[in-house]
């Protein structure tokens, strides 16, 4: 028998400002809290305020800047503010998607950190009534030679695969890069896309008073307590001791939860629903109460618990995984219980919605919390953090590129460098084909993955993009570029880009220099979203990505989703045919600033790398639209956007994917490796080319030759297989600890 009075006494103890500081609440916030409440809080109440007002839940440093994003276009059904964004994909169907980070947990415990990141983002999507149909991930690790990198890569990849494979949702695309700037703070961003009928979408809003609050899924344990607060502070060495704040995932339960929730959603039983993610039961219940403008009264003794003697504080702050909270319509409890019983999942009524506007919590018959709901959500701090403009970089010297190295040697180096090398070692550990609708995944080397909309001729295209090299150099142009590259990647397979989700990863916003990167990157992205009619419908902000005062490179990742009306009309990289011409679309100025060439070949660092290529957004739109029309019109055999490594690397990738030799002709190094934006390469036959409409920036730059023939440029050639080996061998050798040098 648990002694309840001993448990209750500390919970009810009145807290002071020092206690608040221990919960990450600063002086100003403490003053605000006590003023709103009219008294000092007890421990449970303080815990609830601290997580709701944490950076992770309240976006207090970024909120005013996020409002600069355009969030609407003709296809947007739901923009930011719900669990995920929703777009109209025609025929009464909707695509629902979001990207979210699990950076801090993944550094501390890579397998579970990454696994639960996947679990959390899946819940955001099926909470809204969507069946998840695809997963994407964007990973950034430290320098390959850093002693922790190899084990972090192995753990994160195993965690993503372990969860996604088991739950039965294909992991179809992603990106992985390495940079010393992530040595102490890796990035694990996961994106999920789901499919729903537009008349069967569920929201956190809509709950009314007098209805049962229904808890389903796993039991609540002591794991992950204060995870949201951990994600809102800098790291220091030795922080691995935070391991108990990392949650443990169970993809088997998640799979059952998906099936049970979707089965319940097919009946008319749910009024409002929210998954228990960061800040668990606290944020899920507060969100539903706040959005419904109601109160809640919960008896925590009814919460299914994994261990005995848990306090109200622990129950409310636990981040145990695979749990959902819903408000049921009257008279639906039995229906709901029967469905969860079928799947052997816990399901309990733990309270009722009320008209008091208060959050009342009871444990052992005592009221342990009684606070007004609106201040928790709406009165959360909203800071206008001071920021300074990031410094402008000087252009590269005009002759910096004049080196005595053969383009083929340079290509061997670039194709095998960590950021360009094939990530086969990673994506072969992900089930890319379950659900039977994967038209194109990582294995096609394409610019975007393609997933068929089950049972239709439509498909969704998806990609993940960010070039931190550019954002570090100039956050405004780099922010524009991340959105523009996403737009280009989707267009390169023949899809019409519709909307994005974003994952903004930065350092400590309390430092004006870091805040400057946050503000300017957001402004650049927002301008691109506006010009391209490519709005933000959901997203996540991850700040305090610092270790011992060193911020990560600014990394605003863009997850783009596009629509294909007829999947028979898509193209990839692998469709080039012998005799095809390689056509370069777009203007080439030979911009080498902040390029892969400058970093890998010229061995320049930081400011020496110079400014990134400027992004002309109107030209991006015009060029991408032109290419998409050619693809849909059947005038292209293969297409690829030109990005890292410029024309030369793009051409090698197409040759490798098509298993064809290529003669690239004669070009200067800046023309081969410059990273000018708004460019594509296309493989087309003579007769296709003859049917091209007028365009003022088309250039024939090469000819595809024989199957697995040589790759040639500037009068010299080499076996395509040598380039393939350079491209394929780096990652497996690295993971096996083979010294390639």
């Amino acid at each position: 028998m648990t002694d309840t009075s001993a448990l209750l006494a500390p919970l009810l103890a009145i807290q002071d400002q020092d206690d608040a500081a221990g919960h990450g609440i600063n002086e100003e916030e403490w003053a605000r809290l006590t003023k709103r409440l009219g008294r000092a809080p007890n421990l449970v109440e303080l815990g609830i305020y601290s997580v709701m007002w944490s950076e992770h839940c309240s976006y207090k440093s970024s909120r005013r800047h996020l409002s600069k994003f355009p969030t609407q276009n003709a296809r947007v059904i739901q923009g930011p503010g719900e669990n995920a964004g929703v777009i109209d994909i025609g025929d009464g169907q909707a695509a629902i998607f979001k990207m979210e980070s699990h950076n801090h947990p993944s550094y501390i415990e890579p397998y579970q950190g990454a696994a639960t990141g996947v679990g959390g983002i899946l819940r955001d999507v099926f909470t809204m009534g969507a069946r998840p149909i695809a997963l994407v991930n964007a990973l950034r690790f430290g320098a390959p030679e850093h002693p922790k990198t190899r084990s972090l890569v192995a753990g994160v990849v195993a965690g993503i695969g372990g969860y996604g494979n088991c739950v039965g949702v294909p992991t179809v695309a992603g990106e992985t890069e390495f940079d010393a700037g992530y040595n102490g703070n890796i990035l694990v961003n996961a994106m999920a896309i789901g499919l729903a009928d537009q008349d069967k979408i569920f929201y956190a809003r809509g709950a009314t008073p007098g209805n049962p609050i229904f808890y389903v899924g796993s039991k609540t344990g002591r794991d992950g307590i204060h995870g949201a607060t951990m994600a809102s502070a800098e790291f220091s060495e030795g922080e691995e001791d935070n391991r108990p704040t990392v949650q443990v995932g169970d993809p088997f339960t998640e799979k059952l939860l998906i099936e049970a929730c979707l089965e319940l959603m097919a009946t008319d039983a749910i009024q409002a629903i929210q998954d228990m993610g960061a800040a668990g039961l606290t944020s899920s219940s507060v969100e539903m109460a706040d959005k419904g403008g109601i109160g809640i009264d919960m008896d925590l003794d009814k919460v299914p618990q994994r261990e005995r003697g848990m306090s109200a504080y622990e129950i409310m702050l636990s981040e145990s995984q695979e749990r959902m909270l819903m408000v049921l319509k009257p008279g639906k409890v039995e229906t709901a219980k029967a469905i969860f019983d079928k799947y052997d999942l816990d399901a309990e009524v733990i309270g009722m919605t009320t008209d008091t506007g208060h959050m009342v919590l009871r444990q052992f018959g005592e009221i342990v919390c009684d606070i007004p709901v609106p201040p928790l959500a709406e009165d959360a701090p909203n800071y206008d953090r001071p920021w300074t403009s990031p410094p402008e970089r000087q252009p590269l010297a005009a002759d910096a590129w004049k080196i005595d190295q053969d383009p083929l040697d340079i290509l061997m180096q670039l194709m095998g460098c960590p950021d360009m090398a094939s990530k086969r070692w990673i994506w072969e550990q992900y089930d890319r084909h379950v659900m039977g609708d994967t038209l194109d995944s990582s294995q096609s080397m394409g610019d975007a993955a393609l997933i068929r909309v089950h049972g239709t001729s439509k498909a969704l295209a998806v990609s993940s993009d960010c070039t931190p090299r550019y954002v570090s150099a100039d956050p405004f142009e780099g922010g524009k570029q991340a959105v523009a590259e996403s737009y280009r990647n989707l267009s390169a397979v023949g899809a019409t880009p519709v909307a994005i989700t974003d994952n903004l990863n930065f350092g400590n916003p309390e430092k004006p220099a870091t805040m400057g990167y946050i503000v300017r990157a957001i402004e650049g992205m927002a301008e691109a979203c506006r010009t391209l009619d490519y709005p933000v419908v959901s997203g996540n902000v991850s700040l305090y990505n610092e270790t011992d005062g060193q911020a990560i490179p600014p990394t605003p990742v863009v997850g783009g989703v596009g629509l294909v009306e007829d999947f028979q009309k898509v193209v990839g990289l692998g469709g080039a045919r012998s005799g095809d011409r390689l056509i370069l679309v777009g203007e080439t100025a030979g911009h080498l600033g902040a390029s892969l060439f400058a970093r890998q070949i010229l061995a320049l660092n930081n400011d020496q790398l110079g400014p990134p290529p400027p992004v002309d957004l109107l030209l991006e739109k015009k060029t991408a639209d032109f290419v998409r029309h050619l693809i849909v019109g059947g005038l292209v055999n293969a297409a690829h956007d030109v990005s890292d490594g410029g024309l030369a690397c793009a051409a090698v990738e197409m040759a490798l994917a098509s298993h064809l030799g290529l003669d690239l002709g004669q070009h200067s190094l800046p023309d081969l490796f410059g990273e000018d934006q708004a460019r594509f390469i296309l493989s087309v036959s003579e007769s296709q080319f003859a049917q091209f409409p007028e365009h003022d920036a088309l250039k024939i730059v090469g000819t595809f030759t024989t199957p697995d023939g040589p790759f040639g440029v500037n009068g010299k050639s080499m076996p395509l297989e040598d380039l393939r080996r350079a491209h394929e061998e780096w990652m497996p050798n690295y993971m096996a600890g083979v010294d390639a040098s």
């Binding site: 195993a158 695969g161 372990g162 494979n165 088991c166 739950v167 039965g168 169970d250 993809p251 088997f252 339960t253 799979k255 059952l256 079928k342 799947y343 052997d344 994506w427 072969e428 550990q429 992900y430 089930d431 890319r432 084909h433 379950v434 659900m435 039977g436 609708d437 994967t438 038209l439 194109d440 995944s441 294995q443 096609s444 068929r452």
Partner: protein, 220 residues
Amino acid sequence: MRSAIIVFPGSNCDRDAQVALREITGHEPEMVWHKSGKLPDRLDLVMVPGGFSYGDYLRCGAIAANSPIISTLREHAQRGGYVLGICNGFQVLCETGLLPGALIRNASLHFACKPQPLRISARDSAFTRSYGDTDNILIPIAHHDGNYVADEATLDRLEGEGLVAFRYIGNPNGSARDIAGVLSDNGRILGMMPHPERAIGGHEGGDHGRALFDSLLSSL
């Protein structure tokens, strides 16, 4: 063709199997939740789909092999009905003893998902005869525990009696004698790690799995 697909908690290729049977045989398979305790009468084919039944906890397929529904699967098999177990389904069939051997962790210790070349070893089986004189096919694999093991005598017997249905070309998981799929003594139960139901055309998996289902249809 009257067919059913057993759905265990954690099965995740049940829909893939359903689509393949519907598209190729033209008949809608019955989806049977494991708790229902029994299969419909007079079935021609029972499929045990891929996935992670019971989360792969304890051992892949071990808990599913003790589900109440398995007794009616045995009855179906004893009547000479066809059974096709794919991936986790193969693991379940080995755990039930309906097929010999066991599947352990891949030799690489990694999950492996890729297009996998296979050699057709049992040419005239009920599951392969529509392949005609095709030697090699490409079928996707996606598993963590596909490393087939059995004692030497069993392996010799399987090979000697023509019960090895498919072999890997470029062994991806360490399987004994490159075995990718095995048949029961009566040739009516097939367990295989590769996913023919993910290779029925129109997607990244290709279409080399269609002939397997065509074979079954023509064997009835």
